[in-house]
């Protein structure tokens, strides 16, 4: 009985916090928009009994999903999100790996401090930090003022409300998610492995490629998924830092939901987004599993 309870807890968790909300969203996505409160039809009315249930299911259809294919805004937004997520993952990796490497190489007494510095931004609200970037990147912002002052540029650069600002915001926000798993993989690595590689004829650089990188592979994969998966659905950063040209599915979803108040279409967008994310999430879980096996 106790064992059953132990197993049941995570499943209950999953059902309560994932499955039930998902079923609700799925149901809304199959409904029709209505000027009501809540703004969709049909409503499940259990008092009507069997007949009511039958007419409820009869009213559900895939109309909204069909609609998504007719307007190319949606698939362009999905593709654009994937592209932005991919590029920003690569950039975050390129920025994060050296930082993680330097942290893992730092003197042991420094490492907790460095780790703390990486986590520190989480202590302030994410929204405030993104607003701060607006202050930095705007035409009269700190960055432009500084560059004008040094004389590198003569007229302010337009960064805010472009894709560049979105990339900056994403890389900044998600950097810790990249650094932490890579750091933990690198820190576990035994230094004598590099010595062994050098002893067997590797230069420092080839020892890095042949030993360090393969051994941090799982950390790299974990970090990439931890960035890639949430960035696809990201909407705060593109809304605040991006311009009209920045097309991301999260932003579309937000607009459908709050501006158009078209809950059914917004739910359909969300359901497809989830289906797109299932693949990388499964791959991520596989990687974690493999890592656990390798460590165990």
């Amino acid at each position: 009985m106790r064992r059953f309870l132990l197993i049941a807890v995570p499943y209950l968790w999953l059902v309560a916090l994932f499955l039930i909300p998902f079923v609700i969203v799925l149901k809304i996505s199959l409904s029709d928009i209505a000027l009501a409160r809540p703004p969709y039809m049909p409503q499940l009315d259990l008092s009507a009994g069997w007949e009511g249930l039958k007419s409820f299911f009869a009213a559900l259809d895939f109309e909204n999903f069909v609609f998504l294919t007719t307007d190319d805004l949606y698939w362009k937004a999905y593709l654009s999100s994937l592209r932005i997520a991919l590029f920003s993952t690569v950039i975050t990796l390129l920025v994060g790996y050296p930082i993680a490497y330097a942290m893992a190489r730092a003197a042991p007494e420094w490492r907790p401090t460095l780790l703390m510095l990486v986590i520190l931004p989480f202590w302030t609200s994410f929204l405030i930090r993104v607003y701060a970037w607006m202050g930095i990147l705007s035409n009269e912002g700190l960055l432009n003022q500084f560059l004008l002052w040094t004389g590198i540029i003569s007229s302010p650069l337009t960064i805010l409300n472009t894709n560049t600002a979105v990339y900056i915001g994403i890389v900044y926000t998600y950097l810790p998610f990249m650094i932490l798993p890579i750091y933990s993989a690198l820190e576990r690595m035994d230094d004598s492995l590099l010595e062994a590689a050098e002893d067997l004829g590797c230069s420092r650089l080839s020892a890095f490629w042949l030993v360090t990188v393969p051994l941090s592979k799982n950390g790299i994969i974990a970090g990439c998924f931890l960035v890639f998966i949430p960035v696809i659905g990201e909407f705060v950063i593109p809304s605040l830092l991006g311009g009209s040209g920045t097309l991301m599915i999260g932003k579309v979803l937000w607009e459908e939901f709050f501006s158009n108040r078209d809950w059914p279409v917004a739910s359909a967008v969300a359901v497809i987004l989830l289906l797109i994310l299932v693949i990388p999430i499964i791959l991520f879980q596989r990687n974690e599993q493999k890592q656990r096996e390798a460590n165990g």
Binding site: D190, S192, L193, E195, A196, A197, E198, D199, L200, G201, C202, S203, S206, L210, V211, P214, L215, K217, A294
Partner: protein
């Protein structure tokens, strides 16, 4: 073929392969290697022995290039190694922690160094297979390091360091995790490799037997210094300090005060006659009448043709002496050697005669180091210059050997090692017996202090 003794260290014309010149290594305040100067010659099998933390691994790491000496210089083949990185040294090291690449299979681990040399695939494959066979890992080639046992991992590490056939191989406790049989086999493999390839080995080991078996020279270290370097037999038979005597093998240490000995030695009649019949002292028994005897032709053949090679035919066929539990006591045949020192070790006992002791030590406090296997134990007082009375406290049975712990009257506890010639049930000495521990006048070593 004339068998010359391999002793390049005695040859002043020989150039050493490795030279440590006043090397000191400090980690902060801590001195790991203390002003060490040592030559190691090509084709040597140089064993480093010493207690944990005495600096053996550090010495290896300096040779491999992972640590730079704080002071002093390392030369390999006469070339200063100060600015040569590890990957440019013709040195391979087997790490004490193995340092196997966890992401690579056993096969790829062994091939790692070969691939870096840019050898072609077939050469690499052949070499790796050879190494796998040598270390008996054929069946595990595809496994990852975490899928094999500790001893197997150690063998992979060994195979990986051997694969490149370097000029100098540094092995840091290469066989510690192997069972006795595999360890002995691998020791002989190593000696074989050494003979075939002429590789110079520097090996760290905690197993003295191993050092004795494989090494051309043994260095005993203590706190960053080499205390003594000598051939295995010399280290064992003639340690230069109490530290070395105590560290290598089992030893009995008897402290006392040295006194120059008057020659001739202690008069014979001071020694009580013994009642034990001595098997060797008895006249040889006559030839058995039924033993085969040569005829006249055979006699002639022997005396004319074979004589130059074989010598005169012994008139009687040799007979083995009857098995005895105690070692034969040589004292009766040869008179007690003169010279040396007498060691006053306990009140009320005659001094111990040490004929090979240095008379210069007269008057000094000294310690006599005696190996347990060089002592005899008997119930009756034997007719030897040195016989000390005592009581058996404990008997350790080791199968082929027995160790008697004897509390000397008025003196220290000593260990006596005896080969178990007889079945254990027929042993005539047991606990609490009053016994005599005896040894010849040349079987100990007198050490200062």
């Amino acid at each position: 073929m004339a068998q010359t003794v391999f002793a390049p260290w005695d040859d002043p014309n020989e150039k050493p392969l490795i030279q440590f010149k006043n090397v000191t290594k400090r980690f902060g305040e801590f001195i790991a290697i203390d002003d060490l100067t040592q030559d190691i010659y090509s084709k040597e099998f140089f064993a480093l022995l010493g207690p944990s933390g005495c600096g053996k691994t550090t010495m290896m790491r300096i040779l491999a290039g992972f640590e730079t000496p704080t002071e002093g210089q390392i030369l390999i083949s006469g070339q200063d190694m100060s600015h040569v990185p590890p990957n440019k040294r013709a040195v391979n090291m087997m790490f004490q922690s193995y340092a196997l690449f966890p992401h690579l299979s056993v096969w790829d681990n062994i091939a790692f160094g070969l691939k870096r040399e840019g050898k072609d695939k077939d050469t690499i494959a052949a070499r790796v297979e050879e190494m796998l066979r040598l270390t008996r890992l054929d069946r595990f080639a595809k496994r990852k390091p975490h899928q094999i046992s500790g001893g197997q991992r150690q063998r992979v590490a060994l195979a990986r360091s051997l694969a490149k056939a370097p000029k100098l191989l540094l092995l840091d406790e290469p066989l510690g995790a192997l069972d006795k049989k595999l360890r002995q086999d691998t020791q002989f493999e190593l000696m074989d490799i050494q003979e075939k390839t002429g590789t110079t080995f520097v090996i760290v080991t905690h197993d003295q037997e191993e050092a004795m078996t494989v090494a051309s020279r043994v260095a005993v270290m203590d706190e960053g210094k080499i205390v003594q370097v000598a051939t295995p037999d010399e280290i064992y038979e003639a340690p230069n300090s109490i530290y070395v005597a105590d560290f290598i093998g089992d030893v009995n240490l008897i402290e006392g005060r040295a006194e120059a000995r008057m020659s001739p030695a202690t008069p014979r009649d001071q020694i009580e006659p013994t009642t034990t019949p001595d098997p060797e002292g008895a006249p040889p028994p006559p030839a058995k009448p039924d033993a085969p005897q040569p005829n006249a032709y055979g006699e002639w053949l022997q005396n004319t043709l074979l004589f130059p090679f074989l010598g005169k035919r012994a008139p009687n066929p040799k007979e083995l002496p009857a098995p005895s539990e105690t070692k034969p006591t040589p004292a009766l045949q040869s008179p007690v050697k003169t010279g040396g020192i007498a060691l006053h070790w306990a009140d009320g006992h005659p001094p111990i005669v040490v004929a090979n002791g240095d008379p210069q030590l007269a008057g000094a406090a000294v310690t006599l180091a005696l190996r347990p296997e060089k002592l005899n134990i008997a119930k009756n007082k034997p007719d030897t210059p040195n016989a000390l009375p005592g009581t058996v406290i404990d008997i350790g049975y080791l199968g082929n050997l027995s160790t008697y712990h004897v509390q000397l009257d008025n003196g220290p506890m000593v260990k006596v090692q005896v080969t178990n010639v007889r079945r254990i049930a027929r042993r005539d000495i047991t606990w609490e017996d009053a016994v005599w521990v005896s040894f010849s006048e040349t079987s100990g070593v007198v050490l200062k202090g």
